[in-house]
Protein backbone atom coordinates (compact mmCIF):
# COMPACT_ATOMS: atom_id res chain seq x y z
CA UNK A 1 0.00 0.00 0.00
CA UNK A 2 1.84 3.11 -1.15
CA UNK A 3 0.57 6.62 -1.63
CA UNK A 4 -0.04 8.12 -5.07
CA UNK A 5 2.32 11.08 -5.65
CA UNK A 6 0.54 14.38 -5.36
CA UNK A 7 -2.48 13.09 -3.49
CA UNK A 8 -2.95 13.13 0.24
CA UNK A 9 -5.85 11.66 2.19
CA UNK A 10 -5.72 11.86 5.96
CA UNK A 11 -8.58 10.48 8.07
CA UNK A 12 -7.17 11.26 11.51
CA UNK A 13 -9.94 9.39 13.34
CA UNK A 14 -9.17 6.31 11.25
CA UNK A 15 -5.43 6.49 12.01
CA UNK A 16 -6.14 6.88 15.75
CA UNK A 17 -8.59 3.96 15.66
CA UNK A 18 -6.15 1.80 13.67
CA UNK A 19 -3.43 2.24 16.30
CA UNK A 20 -5.83 1.61 19.19
CA UNK A 21 -7.23 -1.53 17.55
CA UNK A 22 -3.76 -2.98 16.97
CA UNK A 23 -2.83 -2.51 20.61
CA UNK A 24 -6.24 -3.64 21.91
CA UNK A 25 -6.14 -6.87 19.86
CA UNK A 26 -2.64 -7.57 21.15
CA UNK A 27 -3.81 -7.04 24.73
CA UNK A 28 -6.80 -9.32 24.09
CA UNK A 29 -4.80 -12.29 22.79
CA UNK A 30 -1.07 -12.15 23.45
CA UNK A 31 -0.96 -12.24 27.29
CA UNK A 32 -2.93 -15.52 27.18
CA UNK A 33 -0.64 -16.82 24.43
CA UNK A 34 2.36 -16.01 26.63
CA UNK A 35 0.78 -17.72 29.66
CA UNK A 36 -0.02 -20.83 27.59
CA UNK A 37 3.62 -21.09 26.51
CA UNK A 38 4.76 -20.76 30.16
CA UNK A 39 2.30 -23.49 31.20
CA UNK A 40 3.61 -25.74 28.40
CA UNK A 41 7.11 -25.40 29.80
CA UNK A 42 5.87 -26.20 33.32
CA UNK A 43 3.93 -29.27 32.14
CA UNK A 44 6.99 -30.60 30.35
CA UNK A 45 9.00 -30.46 33.60
CA UNK A 46 6.54 -32.92 35.13
CA UNK A 47 6.58 -35.38 32.22
CA UNK A 48 9.28 -37.67 33.57
CA UNK A 49 11.84 -38.67 30.98
CA UNK A 50 9.96 -36.65 28.37
CA UNK A 51 11.46 -38.28 25.31
CA UNK A 52 15.07 -37.63 26.24
CA UNK A 53 17.15 -34.70 27.43
CA UNK A 54 17.56 -33.19 23.98
CA UNK A 55 13.84 -33.31 23.26
CA UNK A 56 13.05 -31.67 26.60
CA UNK A 57 15.69 -28.95 26.16
CA UNK A 58 14.59 -28.18 22.60
CA UNK A 59 10.99 -27.93 23.83
CA UNK A 60 11.98 -25.62 26.72
CA UNK A 61 14.01 -23.45 24.37
CA UNK A 62 11.18 -23.06 21.85
CA UNK A 63 8.53 -22.55 24.57
CA UNK A 64 10.63 -19.89 26.34
CA UNK A 65 11.18 -18.13 23.02
CA UNK A 66 7.48 -18.19 22.17
CA UNK A 67 6.53 -16.96 25.66
CA UNK A 68 8.97 -14.05 25.52
CA UNK A 69 8.23 -13.28 21.85
CA UNK A 70 4.52 -12.78 22.61
CA UNK A 71 5.47 -10.45 25.47
CA UNK A 72 7.73 -8.31 23.29
CA UNK A 73 5.14 -8.29 20.49
CA UNK A 74 2.62 -6.86 22.95
CA UNK A 75 5.13 -4.05 23.52
CA UNK A 76 5.60 -3.59 19.75
CA UNK A 77 1.82 -3.29 19.32
CA UNK A 78 1.86 -0.53 21.92
CA UNK A 79 4.67 1.21 19.99
CA UNK A 80 2.66 0.94 16.76
CA UNK A 81 -0.33 2.50 18.52
CA UNK A 82 1.81 5.33 19.90
CA UNK A 83 3.22 5.93 16.40
CA UNK A 84 -0.31 6.09 14.96
CA UNK A 85 -1.44 8.56 17.65
CA UNK A 86 1.68 10.67 17.01
CA UNK A 87 1.01 10.72 13.27
CA UNK A 88 -2.61 11.74 13.83
CA UNK A 89 -1.55 14.50 16.25
CA UNK A 90 1.02 15.86 13.81
CA UNK A 91 -1.47 15.92 10.94
CA UNK A 92 -3.86 17.79 13.21
CA UNK A 93 -1.09 20.35 13.79
CA UNK A 94 -0.52 20.61 10.02
CA UNK A 95 -4.22 21.05 9.33
CA UNK A 96 -4.53 23.66 12.04
CA UNK A 97 -1.85 25.72 10.34
CA UNK A 98 1.23 25.12 12.43
CA UNK A 99 3.18 24.40 9.26
CA UNK A 100 4.08 21.16 7.53
CA UNK A 101 6.63 18.99 9.27
CA UNK A 102 8.40 15.89 8.18
CA UNK A 103 6.49 13.00 9.67
CA UNK A 104 8.11 9.73 10.36
CA UNK A 105 6.91 6.55 12.05
Amino acid sequence: MTGTPGTRVIDRAFIERLGRNIEQSANDHLPQASRDAAQASDLMTTAGQGGGLLVVLAFFFAAEYVEEAWRTKTGTAQTLNEAAQRIATRWRAVEEGYGEHGISV
Partner: protein, 284 residues
Protein backbone atom coordinates in the same frame (compact mmCIF):
# COMPACT_ATOMS: atom_id res chain seq x y z
CA UNK B 1 -10.33 -24.71 24.65
CA UNK B 2 -9.33 -28.22 23.65
CA UNK B 3 -7.52 -29.51 20.59
CA UNK B 4 -6.25 -32.73 19.03
CA UNK B 5 -3.39 -32.90 21.50
CA UNK B 6 -5.84 -32.95 24.43
CA UNK B 7 -7.55 -36.00 22.90
CA UNK B 8 -4.17 -37.63 22.36
CA UNK B 9 -3.19 -36.82 25.96
CA UNK B 10 -6.29 -38.71 27.11
CA UNK B 11 -5.58 -41.70 24.88
CA UNK B 12 -1.90 -41.86 25.83
CA UNK B 13 -2.29 -40.94 29.49
CA UNK B 14 -1.30 -44.41 30.65
CA UNK B 15 2.33 -43.99 29.51
CA UNK B 16 3.47 -43.42 33.08
CA UNK B 17 1.66 -46.53 34.35
CA UNK B 18 3.00 -48.61 31.46
CA UNK B 19 6.53 -47.51 32.39
CA UNK B 20 5.99 -48.50 36.00
CA UNK B 21 4.41 -51.83 34.98
CA UNK B 22 7.38 -52.57 32.70
CA UNK B 23 9.86 -51.72 35.46
CA UNK B 24 8.16 -53.73 38.23
CA UNK B 25 7.53 -56.66 35.88
CA UNK B 26 11.17 -56.69 34.81
CA UNK B 27 12.24 -56.78 38.47
CA UNK B 28 9.97 -59.78 39.08
CA UNK B 29 11.33 -61.46 35.93
CA UNK B 30 14.89 -60.83 37.17
CA UNK B 31 14.28 -63.42 39.88
CA UNK B 32 14.06 -66.12 37.18
CA UNK B 33 16.21 -64.89 34.29
CA UNK B 34 18.85 -62.67 35.97
CA UNK B 35 21.58 -63.82 33.58
CA UNK B 36 19.71 -62.14 30.69
CA UNK B 37 17.96 -59.25 32.41
CA UNK B 38 20.73 -58.00 34.72
CA UNK B 39 23.53 -58.23 32.15
CA UNK B 40 24.53 -54.86 30.64
CA UNK B 41 22.78 -53.92 27.41
CA UNK B 42 25.26 -52.35 24.93
CA UNK B 43 24.71 -48.57 25.15
CA UNK B 44 27.21 -47.24 22.60
CA UNK B 45 24.40 -45.88 20.42
CA UNK B 46 21.97 -45.14 23.22
CA UNK B 47 23.15 -41.58 23.79
CA UNK B 48 26.33 -39.98 25.06
CA UNK B 49 25.50 -40.07 28.76
CA UNK B 50 24.22 -43.64 28.91
CA UNK B 51 27.24 -44.88 26.98
CA UNK B 52 29.50 -43.01 29.44
CA UNK B 53 27.69 -44.75 32.29
CA UNK B 54 28.36 -48.08 30.60
CA UNK B 55 32.06 -47.23 30.23
CA UNK B 56 32.61 -45.85 33.73
CA UNK B 57 30.64 -48.29 35.89
CA UNK B 58 32.23 -51.73 35.68
CA UNK B 59 30.26 -54.96 35.31
CA UNK B 60 30.20 -56.95 38.55
CA UNK B 61 29.81 -60.68 38.96
CA UNK B 62 27.35 -61.40 41.75
CA UNK B 63 26.64 -64.80 43.31
CA UNK B 64 22.87 -65.26 43.50
CA UNK B 65 21.30 -68.00 45.70
CA UNK B 66 19.52 -70.06 43.03
CA UNK B 67 21.18 -68.98 39.84
CA UNK B 68 24.85 -68.81 40.87
CA UNK B 69 27.29 -66.30 39.33
CA UNK B 70 25.54 -63.60 37.28
CA UNK B 71 27.03 -60.54 35.54
CA UNK B 72 25.31 -57.32 36.64
CA UNK B 73 25.89 -54.21 34.51
CA UNK B 74 24.87 -50.56 34.94
CA UNK B 75 22.81 -50.56 31.73
CA UNK B 76 20.70 -53.64 32.48
CA UNK B 77 17.01 -54.04 31.66
CA UNK B 78 15.50 -52.64 34.91
CA UNK B 79 17.85 -49.61 34.84
CA UNK B 80 17.03 -48.84 31.22
CA UNK B 81 13.31 -49.25 31.89
CA UNK B 82 13.56 -46.97 34.93
CA UNK B 83 15.28 -44.33 32.80
CA UNK B 84 12.68 -44.25 30.03
CA UNK B 85 9.66 -43.88 32.30
CA UNK B 86 7.69 -41.01 30.77
CA UNK B 87 4.35 -39.40 31.52
CA UNK B 88 3.29 -39.26 27.87
CA UNK B 89 -0.06 -37.76 28.91
CA UNK B 90 1.75 -34.78 30.49
CA UNK B 91 3.98 -34.46 27.43
CA UNK B 92 0.93 -34.19 25.20
CA UNK B 93 -0.71 -31.73 27.60
CA UNK B 94 2.43 -29.60 27.20
CA UNK B 95 2.03 -29.94 23.41
CA UNK B 96 -1.59 -28.87 23.78
CA UNK B 97 -0.61 -25.73 25.74
CA UNK B 98 2.06 -24.63 23.28
CA UNK B 99 -0.39 -25.30 20.44
CA UNK B 100 -2.99 -23.13 22.22
CA UNK B 101 -0.34 -20.42 22.58
CA UNK B 102 0.07 -20.53 18.79
CA UNK B 103 -3.71 -20.53 18.31
CA UNK B 104 -4.08 -17.35 20.40
CA UNK B 105 -1.34 -15.83 18.21
CA UNK B 106 -3.26 -16.91 15.10
CA UNK B 107 -6.44 -15.23 16.36
CA UNK B 108 -4.43 -12.06 16.88
CA UNK B 109 -2.93 -12.43 13.40
CA UNK B 110 -6.43 -12.60 11.86
CA UNK B 111 -7.40 -9.36 13.61
CA UNK B 112 -4.10 -7.79 12.59
CA UNK B 113 -4.79 -8.71 8.94
CA UNK B 114 -8.12 -6.90 9.15
CA UNK B 115 -6.35 -3.82 10.52
CA UNK B 116 -3.67 -3.98 7.83
CA UNK B 117 -6.14 -4.31 4.96
CA UNK B 118 -8.42 -1.59 6.37
CA UNK B 119 -5.84 1.01 5.29
CA UNK B 120 -7.02 2.28 1.90
CA UNK B 121 -6.51 5.36 -0.27
CA UNK B 122 -9.92 6.53 0.95
CA UNK B 123 -8.78 6.71 4.57
CA UNK B 124 -5.05 7.33 4.54
CA UNK B 125 -2.78 8.11 1.65
CA UNK B 126 0.52 9.84 2.24
CA UNK B 127 4.23 9.08 2.66
CA UNK B 128 3.90 8.29 6.35
CA UNK B 129 1.14 5.79 5.51
CA UNK B 130 3.57 3.84 3.30
CA UNK B 131 6.17 3.78 6.09
CA UNK B 132 3.58 2.81 8.71
CA UNK B 133 2.09 0.06 6.53
CA UNK B 134 5.54 -1.41 5.96
CA UNK B 135 6.16 -1.55 9.73
CA UNK B 136 2.72 -3.08 10.26
CA UNK B 137 3.32 -5.71 7.57
CA UNK B 138 6.70 -6.66 9.08
CA UNK B 139 5.10 -6.90 12.50
CA UNK B 140 2.26 -9.02 11.13
CA UNK B 141 4.81 -11.38 9.52
CA UNK B 142 6.72 -11.71 12.80
CA UNK B 143 3.48 -12.67 14.59
CA UNK B 144 2.90 -15.31 11.91
CA UNK B 145 6.40 -16.68 12.46
CA UNK B 146 5.92 -17.06 16.20
CA UNK B 147 2.56 -18.80 15.92
CA UNK B 148 4.02 -21.23 13.35
CA UNK B 149 6.94 -21.98 15.71
CA UNK B 150 4.49 -22.73 18.54
CA UNK B 151 2.48 -25.13 16.34
CA UNK B 152 5.61 -26.84 14.99
CA UNK B 153 6.89 -27.34 18.54
CA UNK B 154 3.61 -29.04 19.48
CA UNK B 155 3.60 -31.25 16.39
CA UNK B 156 7.22 -32.40 16.58
CA UNK B 157 7.09 -33.08 20.32
CA UNK B 158 3.82 -35.00 20.02
CA UNK B 159 5.49 -37.37 17.53
CA UNK B 160 8.21 -38.09 20.12
CA UNK B 161 5.54 -38.64 22.80
CA UNK B 162 3.67 -41.16 20.63
CA UNK B 163 6.87 -43.07 19.83
CA UNK B 164 7.78 -43.13 23.53
CA UNK B 165 4.30 -44.44 24.36
CA UNK B 166 4.71 -47.27 21.84
CA UNK B 167 8.11 -48.10 23.34
CA UNK B 168 6.66 -48.19 26.86
CA UNK B 169 3.67 -50.29 25.75
CA UNK B 170 5.86 -52.89 24.03
CA UNK B 171 8.22 -53.05 27.03
CA UNK B 172 5.27 -53.38 29.44
CA UNK B 173 3.72 -56.23 27.44
CA UNK B 174 6.93 -58.25 27.12
CA UNK B 175 8.08 -57.63 30.70
CA UNK B 176 4.52 -58.37 31.86
CA UNK B 177 4.55 -61.77 30.13
CA UNK B 178 7.91 -62.56 31.74
CA UNK B 179 6.62 -61.49 35.17
CA UNK B 180 3.57 -63.75 34.83
CA UNK B 181 5.83 -66.64 33.82
CA UNK B 182 8.15 -65.86 36.75
CA UNK B 183 5.27 -65.98 39.21
CA UNK B 184 4.09 -69.32 37.76
CA UNK B 185 7.67 -70.61 37.91
CA UNK B 186 8.10 -69.79 41.61
CA UNK B 187 4.68 -71.21 42.44
CA UNK B 188 5.60 -74.52 40.80
CA UNK B 189 9.07 -74.58 42.37
CA UNK B 190 7.52 -74.64 45.81
CA UNK B 191 4.83 -77.24 45.01
CA UNK B 192 6.14 -80.82 45.39
CA UNK B 193 6.66 -82.91 42.21
CA UNK B 194 6.24 -79.93 39.85
CA UNK B 195 9.83 -78.83 39.50
CA UNK B 196 10.00 -80.26 35.95
CA UNK B 197 7.03 -78.11 34.98
CA UNK B 198 8.75 -75.13 36.60
CA UNK B 199 11.89 -75.77 34.55
CA UNK B 200 9.87 -76.01 31.35
CA UNK B 201 8.39 -72.56 32.09
CA UNK B 202 11.89 -71.19 32.69
CA UNK B 203 13.11 -72.67 29.42
CA UNK B 204 10.11 -71.32 27.52
CA UNK B 205 10.64 -67.84 29.00
CA UNK B 206 14.37 -67.78 28.25
CA UNK B 207 13.76 -66.94 24.57
CA UNK B 208 11.62 -63.94 25.57
CA UNK B 209 14.10 -62.88 28.28
CA UNK B 210 16.87 -62.90 25.67
CA UNK B 211 14.78 -60.79 23.29
CA UNK B 212 13.78 -58.08 25.79
CA UNK B 213 17.26 -56.43 26.10
CA UNK B 214 17.57 -56.32 22.30
CA UNK B 215 14.14 -54.74 21.91
CA UNK B 216 14.92 -52.15 24.58
CA UNK B 217 18.29 -51.35 22.99
CA UNK B 218 16.91 -50.99 19.45
CA UNK B 219 13.96 -48.85 20.57
CA UNK B 220 16.26 -46.64 22.65
CA UNK B 221 18.59 -46.16 19.70
CA UNK B 222 15.63 -45.13 17.56
CA UNK B 223 14.46 -42.70 20.28
CA UNK B 224 17.95 -41.13 20.50
CA UNK B 225 17.94 -40.54 16.73
CA UNK B 226 14.40 -39.14 16.90
CA UNK B 227 15.56 -36.86 19.75
CA UNK B 228 18.46 -35.50 17.68
CA UNK B 229 16.15 -34.81 14.73
CA UNK B 230 13.55 -33.16 17.00
CA UNK B 231 16.15 -30.97 18.71
CA UNK B 232 17.84 -30.16 15.40
CA UNK B 233 14.67 -29.05 13.63
CA UNK B 234 13.28 -27.17 16.64
CA UNK B 235 16.60 -25.47 17.41
CA UNK B 236 16.95 -24.30 13.81
CA UNK B 237 13.31 -23.15 13.66
CA UNK B 238 13.64 -21.19 16.91
CA UNK B 239 16.81 -19.52 15.64
CA UNK B 240 15.09 -18.79 12.31
CA UNK B 241 12.16 -17.16 14.14
CA UNK B 242 14.63 -14.97 16.08
CA UNK B 243 16.60 -14.00 12.95
CA UNK B 244 13.39 -13.24 11.11
CA UNK B 245 12.02 -11.18 14.03
CA UNK B 246 15.24 -9.20 14.21
CA UNK B 247 15.28 -8.48 10.49
CA UNK B 248 11.60 -7.67 10.21
CA UNK B 249 11.26 -5.52 13.29
CA UNK B 250 14.68 -4.04 12.51
CA UNK B 251 15.69 -3.58 16.12
CA UNK B 252 17.49 -6.80 17.08
CA UNK B 253 14.49 -7.75 19.20
CA UNK B 254 14.46 -11.37 17.99
CA UNK B 255 18.09 -11.92 18.94
CA UNK B 256 17.49 -10.39 22.35
CA UNK B 257 14.53 -12.75 22.91
CA UNK B 258 16.56 -15.72 21.64
CA UNK B 259 19.38 -14.88 24.05
CA UNK B 260 16.82 -14.43 26.82
CA UNK B 261 15.28 -17.84 26.12
CA UNK B 262 18.72 -19.51 26.13
CA UNK B 263 19.69 -17.83 29.41
CA UNK B 264 16.32 -18.70 30.93
CA UNK B 265 16.63 -22.38 29.98
CA UNK B 266 20.25 -22.62 31.13
CA UNK B 267 19.61 -20.67 34.32
CA UNK B 268 16.65 -22.82 35.18
CA UNK B 269 18.14 -26.06 33.92
CA UNK B 270 18.69 -27.69 37.28
CA UNK B 271 15.26 -26.64 38.54
CA UNK B 272 13.56 -27.77 35.34
CA UNK B 273 15.39 -31.07 35.17
CA UNK B 274 14.92 -32.01 38.80
CA UNK B 275 11.38 -30.70 39.28
CA UNK B 276 9.79 -33.48 37.27
CA UNK B 277 12.61 -35.97 37.61
CA UNK B 278 13.52 -35.48 33.99
CA UNK B 279 16.60 -37.64 33.93
CA UNK B 280 19.69 -36.66 32.05
CA UNK B 281 21.09 -40.10 31.38
CA UNK B 282 19.17 -41.19 28.34
CA UNK B 283 18.24 -39.61 25.08
CA UNK B 284 21.31 -37.39 24.79
Amino acid sequence: MSNTYDSMAGALSSGNELGNVALVSSLIACTVWPEHLLAPIPAAKSGILLSQLEKRVPVKTVNLPVHGAVDVGPTNVPTRLALIRTDTGKMLQACSRIHESGSAGLRYLEELNKQYYSVSPATWESNDQAAYSKQLLDYRNSVQNTYCLAWETALLTSIVAVLRFVQLAIAAVIAGILAAMAIAYWALVFIPFTSAAAQSIRTAGTAIARTLPTIIRVMDEIMVKVGWVHAGILGVRTAQAAISDSMRLDDGEGFRVLGGAAVEVLGDLVKKLTKGQVNVLSGF
